[in-house]
Symmetry: C2
Subunit: 286 residues, 2 copies
């Protein structure tokens, strides 16, 4: 198997629920107006606690500092595992189960934090840039490691160093709602713009006359990402009903996902953090 | 002729150019998400100086106070002149030339400020609520005056009072660009959402790689209004090129307008203010 260190330098941020409104302007720009930004890696995920935004440095420039924006101090690099020698998105991605066993477990043993980011197209393992040498050293026996640089794949060999942290154990919670993972042609994004804006920015404000049904067994989770021009959406079945069926596509099996949440509250970055639910789901299978 | 005092209580506000970003959230809600707001009268006009937003009290609630939002202190009422006894939008609207002569001139003699708001569908004459008795007294000889109340047209008769102010004279400037006045079915608004968002909120930030062409002979002016479900757009020919031709419609003659601007800077509310260019155009004809 090959492990590719992709050519994006990422920041991991979170916007508070109450602060989202004041980031409407940059977020709409990043989501809908691709020709106004050089951002090539953007991911927005709504969780019950906040909005997690992962984006490259071009995108990060759009976010003005405020009390509502928390920025994790590190630069993160996305890793991608592929089963053949081709790092392009058309190549065979490797399942999450295998990634968990062959990447996350060895890194956990070295106390390296990872941030998993799953999209319709692939699964990214984000590691801190400063941990890169440990990552390479830990994985070089199992993988051919390449670094993507300006479209070229450059082989990487082992380097140095090691760090250490304690790993905690958290309970796993499984909310009731079922999720689907979808994609769409980025050129058809304008066709769902108002629905997406409604769901992303206004779903917390009730519609006039509408009753608020609070189903406490369900969890609020919505994810939008656009990475190298590929769009990925994760939403529950209720949210999906608002979108036209002819534009969003899902895998042929159309499977629905349940979420496993580790702990009932946000995990610190010092811990092994796996916020993307399908990986948790896979972790449950493990 | 009939003069109808419509059943909207309006606020006239302006948002500074630099402050628009922080009003993206409420403005997008008011423009695109009709079922999330009870606002029935909304108008946004970009001028070289600022964004003028006229909206009813339901809409006004959406705008958080800030240093970037200026709110004119009065409540304004929209008047509508119709040539037959029917105030519905299907009735015959009266041309601006006639309005200027029969409404604005008599009110100017009484030193009553008016705010003209032109849409594709009709022309509104906004007067301050506190001036209403003078308005009625000044116009009752020429018009049958009705007050719209919950869908009913109630006849209004003369009342009392008078006020007095000095009227200034300003030079008229005529920029180079040509404007079109258009409408569209509000149900097709989502189809132009991203283009409209781009033009409204992002046209001041250059696209990556695009050169900035500053044509000093042209004026920045864009107007969107949605009043009782009717959409009206005013933009210059350059902006129009960005929109699909099949959704926006214009009058059969498809005439283009030139703008006459009174003074080179914003007029105070104490003066006879006529910001809508086609009325100025008409005023020039006068």
């Amino acid at each position: 198997m090959d492990l590719h260190i992709l050519d994006h330098r990422l920041r991991v941020t979170s916007i508070s629920k109450t602060g989202l409104e004041q980031y409407t302007h940059p977020l709409i720009k990043l989501i809908f107006l691709r020709n106004r930004t050089r951002c090539k890696f953007f991911s927005l995920t709504e969780t019950p606690e906040n909005y997690t935004v992962v984006l490259d440095e071009e995108g990060f420039k759009e976010l003005q500092p405020s009390e509502h924006l928390q920025v994790e101090g590190s630069t993160w690099l996305p890793l991608n595992v592929v089963s053949n020698g081709n790092a392009s998105s058309s190549s065979q991605s490797v399942g999450v189960t295998k990634i968990a066993k062959s990447v996350i477990a060895p890194l956990a043993e070295q106390h390296v934090s990872v941030f998993m980011l799953s999209t319709y197209q692939t699964d990214f393992i984000l590691v801190r840039e400063k941990d890169l040498s440990v990552v390479v050293e830990s994985l070089v026996e199992e993988f051919n490691i390449f670094r993507e640089e300006g479209g070229e794949s450059v082989p990487v060999h082992s380097q140095d160093a090691c760090n250490g942290l304690q790993r905690n154990v958290h309970p796993v919670l499984i909310p009731e709602n079922q999720f689907c993972v979808m994609s769409l042609d980025p050129d058809t994004l304008p066709a769902i713009a108002t629905i997406l804006i409604d769901v992303l920015f206004y779903s917390n404000s009730p519609k006039p006359g509408a009753s608020i049904d609070q189903d406490m067994e369900c969890i609020k989770f919505f994810s939008f990402s656009m990475i190298d021009g590929y769009v990925s959406l994760v939403m529950d079945k209720e949210a999906q009903k608002q979108f036209p069926t002819d534009l969003l596509f899902t895998s042929s099996s159309g499977e629905l996902w349940r979420m496993g949440r580790i702990g009932g509250q946000p995990l610190g970055f010092g811990e092994l953090q796996i916020p993307s639910f399908d990986h948790l789901n896979a972790a449950c299978i493990l």
